[in-house]
C-alpha cells in the first residue's frame, strides 16, 4: 500500500483552465445580468433568470446524485465503489456551494415576484383561477421558501455526515467489532439521506422548482424524470473524474472492472430515463386532453421540436447503441466520450424542461446558456479538484476495500 499515490495534487493546468472557464462564465453572467436580468423588459428578464435557474438546478442535482450513488451502494452493501468512493464524495461537497447559488436564484425569483416565471406568484391570478387555487396549499411562497431551505440544508448536512463517517476509515485498522459498527453507522446515515432524497428529488422538489413554471399542468412522472436525468448525468460526471485521475496515474486500484460497473449505470439509467420520457409522453398523447397536452404542444410541434427530439437521440439512441457492448463500457475513450455526451444531453434536457415553458416562441439557446455552463463547469472542476486534494484518494482501512480491489465483472 505504501507505493500507492493517494495524495492528489491539483495540477496548475487544471487551475488555469477552471479559472479561465469561471472568468468567461462570470463575464457572460454579469453581462447577461445587467443587459437582461435587470432590464425593464419582462421577456429579457425571464430569459436571464430562467437560464440561470435551470443551470443552477441542473448542477446542484447532478452533484447531489453523487451522494445518492454513495447512499444506495452503501445500503446495498456494494463493496466495489471503495477504490474510487472519494470521487463521488468530492463531487458531493459541491452540494452546499451550488445549493446556495440555487437557493439565492430561486429566492430572488420568488421575492422579486417574477410571476412570468412562476405564474402562481401572481396572487390576483391565483384568486381568479380555480385550478391554481386548488394548488395554493403547495404552490405558495411560504411553503416554497421553507421547503427549499430544508431541502438544500438537509442534503448538505446529511451528505456531510456520511463523508465525515468515512474519514474514520483513514485513521487506522479496525477490528471486527469496530468494522461491523462502522458499516452499521454508515447504513443508518445513508438511509437517512436516501429517505430525504426520495422526499425531495424523488417527488416534491422538481414539482416545486421546475414543474410549477407550467402552473396549470402536472405530471406525476416529472420528478422521477428529473431524478433520472440528474442521476445519469451524475454517474457520467463520476466516470469522467475516475478516468481523469486514472490518466494522471492515480487510482491504481481502480480498473476496467470498476469502469464497467459505472458504464452499466450510465447505460441502464439512460434506458430508464427513456422509459420515463416515454411513459410521460405516451399517456398524454393517448388521452389527448388539452390541459395535459399543453406541455408537449410547443415542444413536439413548435419551436422546440428540434431540441426535443435531438434530446431523445443523444440521451437514448446513442447510449443504447454505443454503450451496449461489454467492450464499450470497458473502453476509457468511449466512456469519456459518452459521459460528455450524456452530461451535455441532460443539460439540454433541463434546458428544454425550463426554457421550453418560459420562451415558447423561439429557442433561446445561445451565448448566455453556454457562458453560464462554462461558469459551472469551471467551478465544478476547481472545487472537486480542491476537495480531492484534501483527503487521501483511498480510504485505506475501509472494511470493504479488499472486495473492491478484487472486484471482477
Amino acid at each position: 500500500m505504501a507505493s500507492l499515490r493517494t495524495q492528489f495534487e491539483v495540477p496548475g493546468k487544471m487551475k488555469t483552465w477552471s479559472y479561465a472557464l469561471i472568468g468567461l462564465g462570470l463575464a457572460a453572467l454579469l453581462y447577461g445580468m445587467f443587459t437582461k436580468g435587470f432590464s425593464s423588459d419582462e421577456h429579457e428578464q425571464v430569459h436571464f433568470w430562467g437560464t440561470l435557474m435551470y443551470n443552477t438546478i441542473f448542477w446542484t442535482l447532478i452533484c447531489n446524485a453523487s451522494m445518492f450513488f454513495i447512499s444506495v451502494t452503501t445500503l446495498a452493501q456494494a463493496g466495489f465503489t471503495q477504490t474510487f468512493r472519494r470521487i463521488p464524495e468530492a463531487i458531493s461537497t459541491l452540494v452546499p456551494i451550488f445549493g446556495a447559488i440555487t437557493f439565492a436564484v430561486l429566492l430572488y425569483i420568488v421575492f422579486g415576484h417574477k410571476h412570468h416565471i412562476y405564474h402562481w406568484l401572481d396572487a390576483e391570478a391565483v384568486a381568479a383561477d380555480p385550478i391554481l387555487k386548488g394548488k395554493a396549499g403547495f404552490l405558495n411562497p411560504t411553503f416554497f421558501v421553507i421547503w427549499t431551505t430544508l431541502t438544500i440544508a438537509l442534503w448538505s448536512f446529511l451528505g456531510w455526515r456520511i463523508r465525515k463517517l468515512n474519514d474514520e476509515a483513514d485513521a487506522g485498522p479496525m477490528d471486527r467489532e469496530t468494522s461491523e459498527k462502522f458499516i452499521h453507522r454508515g447504513t443508518v446515515r445513508t438511509a437517512m439521506f436516501t429517505v430525504w432524497f426520495g422526499l425531495t428529488v424523488g417527488s416534491t422538489v422538481p414539482w416545486l422548482w421546475m414543474m410549477s413554471i407550467d402552473a396549470h399542468w402536472y405530471s406525476t412522472m416529472y420528478s422521477w424524470y428529473t431524478f433520472v436525468s440528474s442521476f445519469v448525468a451524475g454517474m457520467s460526471l463520476i466516470a469522467l473524474w475516475v478516468i481523469y485521475l486514472k490518466n494522471k496515474g492515480y487510482l491504481e486500484l481502480t480498473s476496467q472492472e470498476h469502469l464497467h460497473d459505472i458504464g452499466k449505470f450510465m447505460f441502464a439509467f439512460s434506458i430508464f430515463w427513456t422509459y420515463l420520457w416515454f411513459s410521460q409522453y405516451m399517456l398524454i398523447w393517448y388521452a389527448n386532453i388539452p390541459e395535459e397536452t399543453v406541455y408537449f404542444k410547443h415542444r413536439t410541434q413548435g419551436a422546440y421540436k428540434g431540441i426535443f427530439f435531438f434530446n431523445l437521440i443523444v440521451n437514448f439512441l446513442c447510449p443504447l447503441l454505443i454503450l451496449m457492448k461489454r467492450s464499450a463500457k470497458r473502453n476509457y475513450t468511449l466512456v469519456t466520450f459518452m459521459a460528455v455526451l450524456i452530461i451535455f444531453g441532460h443539460w439540454i434536457d433541463f434546458y428544454q424542461m425550463v426554457m421550453g415553458s418560459l420562451m415558447k416562441e423561439h429557442v433561446s439557446l445561445g451565448w448566455l446558456d453556454f457562458g453560464i455552463l462554462a461558469f459551472f463547469v469551471g467551478a465544478m472542476i476547481l472545487f472537486v479538484g480542491t476537495a480531492l486534494s484534501k483527503k487521501p484518494l483511498i480510504a485505506k482501512y475501509h472494511p470493504y476495500l479488499k472486495e473492491s480491489v478484487i472486484h471482477q465483472v
Partner: protein, 196 residues
C-alpha cells in the same frame, strides 16, 4: 460421435486449480473442459476460451423482434385494416412502442435461451458423459484430451505434482447422444461401504 481417451484430474481448491490449468496449457496439453460445481470467476480466461457470441445473437434476435412488431403492426393498421382509433393517425407510433418493446424482449429472451441450450448441447433426452460425479458437488474436474502420443502415466503424474487429488484415464464419448439417465447407466456408482 467418436470415443476418445481422456485424462481426468480432480482438484478441491480454486487456488490450486488456476496454476494447474496454466501449467497444463503451457505444457501443451489440450484441455477438453473443466467441470466445476459453481461458476468460477476468471476460469474462462485461464482456460483461454474465447468470449461468447451469445450477446451478439441476443442483439440480432432483439432487432428481429422490433422489426417484426413494427412491420406487422404498421402493415395491419395502415394497409390491411385501417381503423380510426380515437382520431389518431393510422401510423400511431407511440401506441405501438410498448408492443415493439415486448416483442423485442420476447424474441431476445426465447432466442437466447434456445441458443444457449444449443451451445451447451442441452435438450430433453440428450445425454453426455460425466467424467466425475463429484464435479456437481465439491470437486473441480479438469479433463484433458489425449492424442496418440500422450503418455497417460506421465500426464497423471504431472497433474498429481500440480495438486490433483485424484487422477484417472477414461475412454469416453466426447459429444452427446440420445438416452435417459434413469434407464441407462447411472452417472454415479453406489458406494460400497466396507466395514473396517
Amino acid at each position: 460421435m467418436a470415443k476418445k481417451k481422456f485424462v481426468v484430474g480432480c482438484f478441491d481448491d480454486e487456488a490450486v486449480l488456476f496454476p494447474a490449468v496454466k501449467k497444463v496449457r503451457t505444457a501443451g496439453y489440450k484441455i477438453h473442459d473443466v467441470y466445476t460445481p459453481f461458476a468460477v470467476h476468471g476460469l474462462d480466461h485461464a482456460m483461454g476460451l474465447r468470449e461468447t457470441s451469445l450477446h451478439t445473437a441476443g442483439f440480432i434476435y432483439g432487432i428481429t423482434g422490433t422489426a417484426t412488431a413494427l412491420s406487422s403492426i404498421s402493415w395491419i393498421f395502415t394497409k390491411d385494416w385501417p381503423l380510426n382509433i380515437g382520431g389518431k393517425p393510422h401510423f400511431a407510433l407511440p401506441a405501438w412502442i410498448p408492443i415493439m418493446f415486448e416483442l423485442t424482449v420476447l424474441f431476445a429472451a426465447v432466442g437466447m435461451v434456445l441458443t444457449f441450450c444449443y451451445l451447451c448441447q442441452l435438450a430433453p433426452f440428450v445425454k453426455k458423459h460425466h467424467f466425475h460425479a463429484r464435479a456437481t458437488d465439491d470437486l473441480f474436474v479438469m479433463v484433458i484430451e489425449c492424442t496418440d502420443k500422450t503418455n497417460t502415466d506421465d500426464l497423471q503424474a504431472f497433474l498429481q505434482s500440480n495438486g490433483a487429488l485424484e487422477t484417472k484415464v477414461e475412454v469416453a464419448e466426447d459429444g452427446w447422444w440420445l438416452g435417459r439417465y434413469d434407464k441407462d447407466e447411472m452417472p454415479f456408482e453406489e458406494k460400497q461401504i466396507v466395514a473396517a
